[in-house]
């Protein structure tokens, strides 16, 4: 087994793993009961999935075409930084516009804060 074959195997592994993770996060978006648990599945699995696919692409063009695409590297860092923040913002907006967590939720320390905010908004 020479180096090219190893690299090709790695690229295939990365891209397939990324695609599988994206599929799993889609399944999670369908199966999980409320927005907060869905947000878990989507924010984590798609972040890593897309990062893996982009890393595979980077390696492929690096070793097969001798071309280091720095934009792919930048994109990996960008996605890594921005997708958790967007998940946080969406679930926060959902929480304060009154979307109840799933009934299986055992504890809710934020409920009190939401009540006071809702009262002050009515006034």
């Amino acid at each position: 087994m020479n180096v090219t074959e190893i690299i090709e195997g790695l690229v295939v592994l990365l891209v397939v793993a990324g695609a599988l993770l994206t599929v799993i996060s889609a399944i999670g978006a369908l199966r999980l009961p409320d927005i907060y648990t869905r947000s878990h599945a989507i924010s984590k699995s798609t972040t890593l999935g897309i990062m893996l696919i982009l890393t595979g692409t980077l390696l492929h063009f690096w070793f097969r075409h001798d071309h280091v695409n720095s934009r792919l590297l930048l994109a990996i860092v960008f996605i890594f930084l921005t997708s958790p923040v967007s998940a946080h913002l969406i679930s926060r907006a959902a929480y304060y516009s009154g979307v109840r967590p799933w009934e299986g939720t055992v504890r809710d320390d934020l409920a009190e804060r939401r009540e006071t905010l809702a009262k002050s908004a009515k006034r």
Binding site: I24, P33, H40, A41, L48, R113
Partner: protein, 158 residues
């Protein structure tokens, strides 16, 4: 830390002017010499020798990667398990970090760790509200992870 880095770059430029050679390699030599000088004079700086925080940042990056992999494994197990027997919960965690960038970094770390993500930070920046996907077994473990994250972040900003 940034000041020390800047001082080191200035020392490297002084070396380039002394040696009268303006190439990348003479910059690197000057930088390494300056690093030695700054290590010898480290007791005159008010903050720690800046190489230490750089190493801690490297450590934080490795932790980040590892936690991202573990988080995905945890999500995968929950999504693909035949029965959805999880117990989500929202709990408040008291914060030790003070500065805004530290809180942002901590909440990004928390969001990408297994089974947790941040819903809100309280207005006085003393509490952080976290949603966990499976409360009973995670709650205490998470707390431990968080204290180790917070400790590492405090090590960077010390």
């Amino acid at each position: 830390m940034a000041q020390q880095l800047l001082l080191n770059v200035v020392l490297a430029f002084v070396w380039m002017f002394l040696a009268d050679s303006f190439t990348g390699s003479s910059f690197v030599i000057g930088y390494l010499l300056g690093l030695g000088i700054m290590f010898a004079l480290r007791r005159y700086f008010s903050t720690t020798f800046y190489v230490v925080p750089l190493f801690v940042i490297g450590k934080l990056t490795v932790i980040f990667m590892k936690e991202l992999l573990l988080a995905n494994w945890a999500v995968l197990k929950i999504v693909l398990s035949p029965s959805l027997d999880m117990k989500p919960c929202i709990f408040a965690l008291p914060l030790e970090v003070k500065k805004d960038w530290e809180i942002t970094l901590l909440s990004s770390l928390i969001t990408l760790t297994p089974g947790t993500f941040v819903i809100d930070v309280s207005d006085d920046k003393k509490l952080i509200y976290i949603h966990t996907i499976d409360a009973p077994d995670v709650d205490e473990v998470i707390r431990q992870i968080k204290t180790s994250f917070e400790k590492t972040i405090l090590e960077v900003s010390r």
